[in-house]
Symmetry: C2
Subunit: 276 residues, 2 copies
């Protein structure tokens, strides 16, 4: 594989969730798109970030289609870092990030998709969701706030909602950043030690960590139930930050390339216009 | 002035609107912060963009204060380009851009500040407004939709609104990108010629251009009436794109430095915590 080429979508198949391919089948320390030296990889990542900027400009100019990147993952899995690196060369003009925290009182007074629908990308926009409506099929069942039947109903609502977006011009890319239990332990400990990272630590992180197996199972079931042809789930091995970034960037660039975006054709009415 | 230093806020005084300093006093071809070669200047701009990223991270971590950058200017004055360059090194995680177009029917059914208030920065956020509520004291009076008394009332509403934001923790930076009539002519003509820029051209741009003097006067009056101690207006000479970017970056970095932001202190309760 030469520097400029990206792997075809086929290469991502091993990491795409399907009835035969579950979260458990994927090793969080995999480095599927590793190649050459660290320097080579960082350079490739930068090239992908530059290409993403170019593709996003064309999307923006076209004002017709929309892209939604959904990032999910446990605490410390690297959602913020992925956004920082993958979008290191794009302009905030056309890239929007929406972060979903614990819902407010007003948000809880609506159905769980209400606050998400409000921030879907508009024509020409690329929007990143830092966490998403998937939190509502992960936290509530693990915490015992909703039962199995309600969780199943929510999977259905999610698939219907994503079909609506897809059929009205939105390309959806869903990435679950997958880290191991030991990797999370080290990262949380590091947050406690490093004064520059201490502000990111919340005591809640430990009580969530104590339910590690429950969350793995909730993720496994949710991904399985909502990996559809119009909005497939990719599990990104994320123990290595560099390879995680590289894989998300490759996947997003490849997806945008496959959309075959073009700049709008010049308006012939303006062809010989002279500005005075 | 050595490479690493930025000019003190005092240096911006000549470009700050006051009763004695109006838009007419400022030459759009000025290059006040020019120094050294083009290469030196581009390097300085990159250093400022990196410093802005660092300052914005500290703002984000603190989750207490907010920054609002308002960009105004006629068509082709470079609002998009300024955003692209000044925010070339920041992450979309904490930088949001809101673009104000002609108001929708629902927006017009509210007071003119309604849609703006909805997208002010929250604690820890840096938000850029690409156009703003100032459109509502520029377009309507020039087009004759509102009279002088209503325009004056709106100036008052704007000053009150910005005082609210300021007194509740928002630092407001207002920049008017100032280009000459001839510079706009060249840029519009360029948009018509260049197939990569053609999509940016709208026939409306020419009818607005035909009212050049009216818009200069409307800007002059609006800036004069709304350049307050808590939210001063800076006029950025913008005939030179590089020097425009440099000046906005300097002003924003200097403003954030003056806020003396600090990372939150480490939580002592977590001091000896071991993650299992």
């Amino acid at each position: 594989m030469t520097r400029k080429e990206s792997p075809p979508m086929e290469a991502f198949k091993k990491y795409r969730i399907s009835p035969k391919n579950t979260l458990k089948d994927i090793d969080p320390s995999d480095k599927p798109f590793s190649f050459g030296t660290k320097k080579d990889e960082l350079q490739r990542l930068d090239e992908l970030a530059v290409e993403l900027d170019d593709l996003q400009n064309t999307l923006y100019a076209g004002k017709r289609r929309k892209v939604l990147l959904i990032l999910q993952g446990l605490d410390t899995s690297g959602k913020d870092g992925t956004i920082r690196w993958v979008f290191s060369r794009t302009s905030p003009l056309g890239v929007h990030v929406a972060a979903f925290k614990a819902p407010s009182e007003r948000e809880r007074a609506h159905d769980f998709l209400w606050r998400c629908h409000a921030v879907v990308p508009a024509n020409g926009e690329l929007t990143v969701w830092n966490r998403s409506h998937y939190e509502d099929v992960l936290v509530p069942p693990v915490e015992g706030w909703i039962d199995k039947a309600e969780t199943q109903r929510r999977y259905g609502h999610i698939n219907d909602f994503e079909r609506l977006l897809s059929e009205t011009g939105t390309t959806i890319v869903k990435c679950m950043l997958h880290i191991s239990n030991e990797e999370q332990r080290e990262r949380l400990q590091d947050r406690l030690k490093d004064p520059g990272k201490n502000w990111k630590f919340a005591a809640d992180d430990l009580s969530t960590r104590a339910k590690w197996n429950d969350y793995q199972r909730a993720y496994e079931q949710a991904l399985q139930a909502t990996s559809t042809p119009h909005a497939p789930w990719y599990v990104i091995p994320a123990n290595s930050k560099r390879h995680r970034n590289l894989m998300v960037a490759q996947l997003l660039v490849q997806t945008l390339r496959d959309m075959k975006l073009r700049l709008p054709p010049p308006n012939l009415a303006f062809k010989d216009l002279v500005v005075n």
